[in-house]
Symmetry: C2
Subunit: 213 residues, 2 copies
Amino acid sequence: MRRYARPTIKPRKVPVQARSTQLVADIVRAAVRVLEREGPHKFTTVRVAETAGVSVGSLYQYFPNKQSILYRLQADEWSRTSEAIDSILQDEGKPPAARLRAMVRFFFHSECDEAPFRLALDAAAPEYHSAPESRAHRVRGQRIWRRFMESAAPRATPAERAFAAQLVLMTVTALGKQVSEKNLTRAQVTRWADAVSDMLLGALARYGSKRPS
Amino acid sequence: MRRYARPTIKPRKVPVQARSTQLVADIVRAAVRVLEREGPHKFTTVRVAETAGVSVGSLYQYFPNKQSILYRLQADEWSRTSEAIDSILQDEGKPPAARLRAMVRFFFHSECDEAPFRLALDAAAPEYHSAPESRAHRVRGQRIWRRFMESAAPRATPAERAFAAQLVLMTVTALGKQVSEKNLTRAQVTRWADAVSDMLLGALARYGSKRPS
DNA sequence: GTACAATACGAAGGATCCTTCGTGTTCACA
DNA sequence: TGTGAACACGAAGGATCCTTCGTATTGTAC
């Protein structure tokens, strides 16, 4: 797999005074707006700065380049969702199947609610997707799922659980994205989420019981 | 869902003499090369022309703009795979389950074999994804699957079949792409394909038998 | 072999963009 | 109140790119 050039993503300077903290927050908010309203193609440092009501120069004092802004948005997003997902999956009060179902519903709806933003972010993703920082997020996501597997498929071997965790993670994220591109009503989204849950639970049942080849 | 500006994609002029036919073929071949070797970011009309050994002016005589080249590559790809998939799914000699399994294996391997090219093409996709021409391809894909459903879930209602067809189509394409990004050995890819097949067959079994809500 | 159509060429116009850097302003602290 | 650090500004340098168009060449039909 060929990888392409990628510059750093680390912040250039950390805001210390109140006004610069506010400025960075404004930039992030503006970046979301620009991405949603103008699309990835028009996501420009100057446009983001203008929308935020600051100068480009100020922007470049806290973000080393354009990709770092996009990455910041993605990272914030990842933190929010993975936290929510984690807490849903860990809710010991419910059986694993119910937890999975709740999680898929939540994820699908969240994907659909922010569809324009996420789509634009995905379109811009190739510019930061291979950054080491984003690997960390993926690893964290896998850990969450592997832990869930321990209660969902207790009789499976660790290797099986790892595989099943990957399968579930990939299926939910990939299908969530696809569903979010279809402009569905909330009821339809729920229906899709449940269909995917059913499918996954069926697959997990197999891992928990019989010996695979 | 917000859509962004998109110019036409139709060819500007149709080659009639032998040399121009060759020229167009060279451009297409060169476009694939550039996309694979340089990545979507460096996919440039001038670079494509140079790689093809022709001038940019000549390129613009047969392609109205850059997107039309990308679209041409994608359309060729779609034609090839959808034809192959169609014939696999229609093979009346095998039971539906075996056909599905064969199809998923074929598709996953084909995705993995051309991973760098497809990834780059996907990264460039937002520029043509909303074109009406590409809708036609999606519709055609759904038709293929709906027909398959008639033999795979004969007892389901047409509405259920349509839903199941979408589920299968989305799952296979979305997971195929994800698997192709993981740099796996052929054996691992086969294992993934079979796991996905099992999952889908389990889901389809439910559609064929019991009454859903 | 002549004339017209088809084709090929590639320099340059026009449009963005990303990023820097010199200058001016504001804040914190003594 | 004075001083240095933090901060903000935005014009402009530098780098691509997409696309056009006037010119030159090649193919074809008569």
